[in-house]
Symmetry: C2
Subunit: 170 residues, 2 copies
């Protein structure tokens, strides 16, 4: 759940029933593992039948990505907010993108170069994390670009009108 979290979010309340139903269909098997420091946990493993299903799935057509991006929605309506709020929004998001970038950098650091051979699991993770890193870097670049545009205007109008409203500028 945590590993696919960057590109497919899901809560535990969705996953537990899913695991159960997949076990019923014999795509997964499970066993309990005792832990002394923490409550016991149930470990699921994919079965041969599950593997086959998974392999079949790899050859199915890929559905286009679905996104629900509130920041873009806000950007779409940016003209009706004060410029100061716009700056706040993007400075806030800048931090988020920076964290995201660091997250992927750490993942990549955890995949030694010699293990990144084509066809290995490490290769898949390497390719995926690289995408995450590239996207985060681009988002960061965009954020900085927007902030530049906003602050430029903010500086040049601050002395004349005081607080500048987006709406009044349009």
């Amino acid at each position: 759940m945590l590993r696919i979290q960057p590109f497919w979010q899901a809560k535990h309340s969705q996953i537990y029933p899913l695991l159960s139903s997949m076990e019923e269909k014999q795509l997964l098997s499970s066993h309990w593992v005792q832990q002394s420091d923490k409550p016991d946990k149930k470990i699921y493993a994919i079965t041969e039948k599950g593997m086959q299903k998974l392999r079949e799935w790899m050859y199915q057509p890929i559905a286009p990505a679905v996104t629900k991006d509130e920041l873009s929605l806000r950007t779409f309506c940016l003209w009706l907010a004060e410029i100061g709020i716009a700056v706040d929004i993007f400075e806030d998001r800048r931090i988020g993108y920076l964290e995201k970038k660091r997250y992927y950098e750490q993942i990549l650091e955890g995949i030694p170069e010699e293990t990144r051979e084509l066809g290995s699991k490490a290769f898949s993770n390497y390719v995926l994390a690289t995408k995450g890193l590239m996207m985060a870097e681009t988002e960061l670049k965009w954020c900085d670009w927007v902030l530049d545009l906003l602050k430029q205007q903010q500086r040049s109008t601050a002395s004349k009108h005081g607080r500048t409203n987006f709406e009044t500028l349009s």
Copy 2:
């Protein structure tokens, strides 16, 4: 619906009931427009009350973006597919990203530079389309990078083993 489609997908069956309920709450108003060539259509406009709600919404905390990206999910499992299929997947997606890039380029062409003043609706669209373009370019770059890695290996092993399976390489 079409305009926010790149960052917030929704079907008409979801939107029609939403519009109705928003009109009931007097956030929207509507009127029918007769069309001679096509069936009549209902035009919704935001009310002053709706505008106020929208402005309030601009100051609310922004929820993190939600994605369901099947391509990333496939990439995550790339190690269990044949290399040829991997190439197919990424070449296919490459086309998609190219179209996406062209889509945003066209949008940007439709926003004349002189209208891109800070605080205007055109500015919001400009900022948003720029993000779309930057992201599409990055996705394209990633795609090409992956294809390069895949094809390198494909060429170097083709003569020796014929068809190469990812799994056998790991």
